[in-house]
């Protein structure tokens, strides 16, 4: 394996620096907000003494670099402020809502990855023919679709007009009550399996169908297009042509050689698309009232709940950086051509 521990350490240090930078940018944003933060903290019915007390507590009377210090200290000790909307600590909120989004994201990515590679290769093999054209068109449409709009339209068709799929939430309340479903880890699929609650599991999956379908659109389109062009390139390689001439079975060529060339860059591309998927999750969860991080940040946005907006965004940025790191490492591991 061409990765050295030195490289990993270097990347982790960079990650830390990047997170620091993320926090500093967020801090700058909080100081751009026009209103006096201490007033925001105490709320409408406060007395003058309470306002003064809040000013001291929030260190607003000290110079800006000391404020930055306290801000960073708070973040690293887990105090991310309290959401104005839910009146709960932001970090707790985020951790509560996180599993729902992870469930959606992982499902969407897996499906996009598998389906995308298959379709991409089919398109590549049939370059120029009808199958290729059709798949290409589909992939472009799919990757260009505005996520929020597609979510609304699917909700309209399947939930409001035809009533075959639920319009929102993770599970039907009556099913949850009837089957005694209890969220333990907050990963509903896991919870249903642990409790051997099959009807709840089915209901949960039904609720995931539309959000996942919408969420996987962009990664699917991207995967198809990337796979397709990489596969075409790869199939042009002389050694592959040689293999064909030598009479190796098509299947074998595809799986053993082409695929290997394709997977690594596709994973890299998917990793890059993760960023878009996060924002996609935001809108999907809003439209389907699916209580994940995206819904939390989205609701915070709609009500201008600054502590929650910033906490949520910093958190997502951190996850994003971490994911990039992991993807880079996997990519390097799989693809022997990448050097350090």
């Amino acid at each position: 394996m061409p990765i050295s521990t030195g490289y990993i350490i270097k990347r982790i240090i960079m990650l830390f620096l990047v997170v620091l930078g993320v926090l500093i940018i967020a801090f700058i944003i909080t100081r751009v907000i026009p209103a006096r933060p201490e007033l925001l903290w105490v709320g409408p019915r406060a007395t003058i003494e309470q306002i003064e007390k809040a000013r001291k507590e929030l260190h607003l009377d000290k110079p800006i670099y000391i404020q930055l210090y306290y801000y960073l200290k708070d973040f690293f000790s887990g105090n991310w402020g309290v959401s104005w909307r839910t009146r709960q600590p932001v970090l707790i909120d985020i951790l509560t809502y996180l599993p729902a989004t992870i469930e959606l994201a992982i499902t969407a990515f897996l499906l996009a990855f598998m389906l995308g590679i298959v379709l991409g290769i089919i398109a590549a093999i049939n370059y120029g023919k009808v199958v290729d054209r059709v798949i290409s068109v589909i992939s472009v449409i799919v990757a260009s679709t505005p996520v929020f709009w597609l979510g609304l339209m699917l909700q309209l068709i399947f939930s409001i007009w035809f009533k075959v799929l639920p319009g929102g939430m993770r599970i039907d309340t009556d099913v949850a009550i009837a089957t005694g479903f209890k969220p333990i880890t907050n990963f509903y699929i896991l919870d249903a399996l642990i409790q051997l609650n099959i009807s709840a599991l089915i209901n949960i999956i039904k609720h995931m169908i539309l959000p996942v379908a919408v969420l996987m659109m962009y990664p699917l389109g991207l995967t198809i297009r990337t796979t397709r062009s990489l596969a075409i390139e790869s199939l042009q390689e002389i050694y592959v042509k040689a293999l064909q001439v030598w009479g190796l079975p098509r299947r074998l060529i595809l799986y053993k050689y082409v695929l290997r060339n394709v997977i690594a860059p596709v994973i890299a591309a998917l990793g890059l698309s993760f960023g878009y998927t996060i924002t996609g999750a935001l809108m999907v969860e809003l439209v389907f009232v699916y209580p994940g991080i995206g819904y939390y940040i989205g609701m915070a946005l709609l009500s201008f709940d600054y502590p929650a907006i910033l906490g949520g965004i910093v958190f997502v940025a951190m996850i994003y950086s971490l994911t990039n790191l992991v993807v880079d490492i996997i990519h390097a591991w799989i693809d022997p051509r990448v050097k350090f």
């Binding site: 409001i160 199939l235 098509r250």
Partner: protein, 290 residues
Amino acid sequence: MIIIPRDFLKFLTERPLYFTGFIIVLVFIVVGSIAPYILTKPEDAWGLTYDLENAFKSPSIEHLFGTDALGRDMLNRVILGSRYSLVIALSVVFLSLAIGIIVGLVAGYIGGAIGTILMRVTDMFLAYPPLLLAIALAAVLGRGIITTIVALAVTWWPWYARLMYVTVNSIKSAPYVEAAKVIGLSRWAIMARYIVPNSLTPVVTQAMLDIGSAILEAASLSFLGVGVPPPIPEWGRLISEGWQYIGKAYWISLFPGIALLLTVIGFNLLGDAIKEYMNPRLRNVTQVMV
């Protein structure tokens, strides 16, 4: 203004799919530019009036795209919306290009400590998932056309800066640049005559391809309530307005969405066409499998 090589046009006409994309983009640019002059009901489009008697009318001959909650004609609003998408997307790309090119050029050519610092700053911005930082900024800066452009540009420039940096770096070590140094040309001259012209191409090409994404991102911001304020009929905003009434008057969200979809498809197709055209390995593929 935009020079389209003959070759490229031929390339397009041979491929109906890409050609469709090209036409869509053309239509979008034309309509977007002349939108205010082709409106049949300008007061509706600009949101100057309301007519509750006419509210929520479904699509008909009179109102091809129906009317919204305040009785305004949706076709007019969608047409006017294209102008905002065009203006905002072009401004975002232009602004972020400008910033990105300068930063990338300085970091790449001057190098050293300044270069490293600049690139680290760029990395910090890149650490945020694409739209998220724009959303936070837009939320803080408030709604408005300018603030939307600024919020998006601030989050976009790092991509161009990085691209520029990499390109400049690779050109820096090219033989003809070495030769120029040997001859004794000043740093500025080298930069102006060799580095800049050659490094601009990939970056500007990328920017052209990104216009579609810019449109989509601006629409997303407006959908979330942080982009352009009402009554500006930007497509994302129109979809958001229709959200409340989705069961009752689906057309309010449907048509702006279709417009958005088609436009972005057009840009993506055109982008794909350009990529394929520029990539010699893909351009002349005839046979893939034996």
